[in-house]
């Protein structure tokens, strides 16, 4: 059962819309019944209950985050305990450490490496189990996906394939190395909405 109401109001999720697959996340959230809006400027973070940082090119999104001075506002959003979900590039941007790169906002205690499975011809689809849902397997789409190289003791592992962590959470932060927004299956978005309701 998906929860879309918090404090008697419809939950509103913001999707960082600087570059990448932000429209797909908005569609998924709306399909779950909650509201979703594009976030193009830092001041808009005040108007939302949870934030999704989508897939795209992490170098591009990182440069635009810097250019538009998002960091202090994102830090405040994170510290206030509101829920944040990063998919693929979004995970890279909020990880504590990124191999060979100087970005990583540090909201989840993992080290990641970009494009870790190879180039586009090595992108793959795989049926995975969801740690929070004993139901059917979830078809996960991995596109030039990152790997989580290591995770701190406070990180909850929600799914793995071949010892690679692919879905994890810590406190108010959820991350996946794959793209649930490219699927019709909204179970992970529903899980995130439940995180928002509890946050």
């Amino acid at each position: 059962m998906v929860v879309i109401i918090k404090n008697k109001e419809l939950i509103r999720v913001g999707v960082l819309a600087l570059q990448g697959a932000f429209r797909e996340h908005i569609n998924c959230i709306k399909k779950c019944g909650a509201d979703a809006v594009e976030i193009k400027f830092p001041y808009q973070l005040k108007e939302i209950d949870g934030l999704i940082i989508p897939g795209g090119e992490s170098t591009t999104i990182n440069k635009l985050i810097k250019k538009y001075d998002f960091k202090p506002y994102l830090d405040e959003f994170y510290k206030s305990g509101k829920a944040i979900y990063g998919t693929c590039a979004g995970l890279i941007l909020i990880a504590k450490k990124v191999a060979n790169e100087d970005f990583g906002l540090g909201y989840i205690d993992v080290e990641v490496a970009r494009n870790s499975y190879g180039r586009q011809i090595d992108s793959f689809e795989e049926y995975i189990s969801l740690g929070f849902n004993g139901g059917e397997k979830f078809k996960a789409i991995f596109i030039r996906a990152p790997k989580i190289l290591s995770a701190g003791p406070d990180v909850d592992i929600l799914s793995e394939i071949k010892d690679n962590i692919i879905l994890a959470s810590q406190g108010n932060v959820l991350v996946s190395t794959f793209h649930p927004e490219l699927q019709d299956d909204t179970r992970i978005h529903e899980y995130f909405l439940n995180m928002i309701e509890k946050s």
Partner: protein
């Protein structure tokens, strides 16, 4: 585990949306593009303006150049093969490029047939000037479309024409009663199933970028407002006076395409853009956008 599926091919294009793909010919240019915020680079031996100036037969880029560029940047790297030249495409796939552009900018190798893109694991982007052409390419396995524009001219007028044409034809197909779809499929020379898909969804089944003549932040905004998912900038960056500045400005303009204040800010003091050609002065046989069938 499955690889090379249509979902994975179209998925990478989804990740590039709202971004700028830049033509580069050297490692230095590729690094400038990445630093400026490009989502991908197109590795070329010559940019379209120089291909146009040089004349003769334009072929696939030397693999050495492509591999050097692949080593130099972490963003996806694309490369072009000639229309119908499946051997060039096989070579590019073996190099591990992330996307192949079966491009009219190069001299066509086949006057009748395009590459059967279903035979490949690597995704393809193809040019189109109208909906029928776009759907034929998708029918052949293209996972991404770019409107052609007239490459290497610095003139956005053809890009606008192609974007408007596709947009208008999509609206028309979406509004027609179902019994008229087979006739319009015949008229456009497009697969019926894809016409049906456009009729039901009201959009192209794959991501559609715009290319050919985009050379300022305002051009990028214009074409995004007309419905492009992102832009290819070929000659517009490295034929401008200050490529880094121009590249950064076009990246910001593509993100904030609906915001005139930001567009005004990023357009200031860029130096001169590339020289723009009046299309009516180009002999018909030199037009590139008419290549492809």
């Amino acid at each position: 585990m499955e690889k090379g599926t249509l979902k994975l091919k179209t998925g990478l294009a989804e990740m590039l949306k709202g971004g700028v793909i830049m033509d580069v010919t050297t490692v230095e240019q590729a690094k400038i593009a990445e630093e400026a915020g490009a989502v991908s680079v197109m590795a070329l031996e010559r940019i379209p303006a120089d291909i146009r100036a040089a004349g003769g037969v334009a072929r696939m880029t030397d693999p050495e150049i492509i591999l050097n560029i692949m080593d130099a940047v972490t963003i996806p790297v694309m490369a072009k093969c000639r229309i119908g030249h499946f051997a060039e495409a096989q070579i590019l796939e073996s190099l591990g490029v992330d996307y192949i552009d079966e491009s009219e900018v190069l001299t066509p190798a086949d006057e009748k047939y395009h590459v059967n893109k279903w035979n490949f694991k690597v995704p393809f982007v193809c040019g189109a000037t109208n909906l029928g052409e776009a759907l034929r390419r998708i029918g052949e396995g293209a996972a991404m479309i770019r409107t052609k524009g007239e490459p290497g001219t610095g003139n956005v007028v053809e890009a606008v024409r192609h974007m408007r044409t596709i947009r208008d034809e999509i609206k028309k197909v979406a509004s027609l009663p179902k019994e008229e779809l087979m006739a319009i499929a015949k008229e456009m020379g497009a697969p019926y199933e894809l016409i049906l898909n456009v009729h039901e969804s009201g959009k192209l089944p794959v991501v559609n970028f715009s290319a050919g003549g985009i050379s300022t932040p305002a051009d990028a905004s214009l074409i995004m407002q007309l419905g492009a998912d992102g832009v290819f900038v070929g000659s517009g960056i490295f034929k401008s006076e200050n490529p880094m500045k121009m590249a950064k400005a076009i990246v910001e303009a593509t993100t904030h395409f609906k915001n005139p204040e930001i567009l005004a800010k990023v357009s200031r003091g860029l130096g001169s853009a590339m020289y723009g050609m009046e299309l009516s002065k180009i002999p018909k046989e030199d037009l590139l956008s008419v290549r492809g069938w």
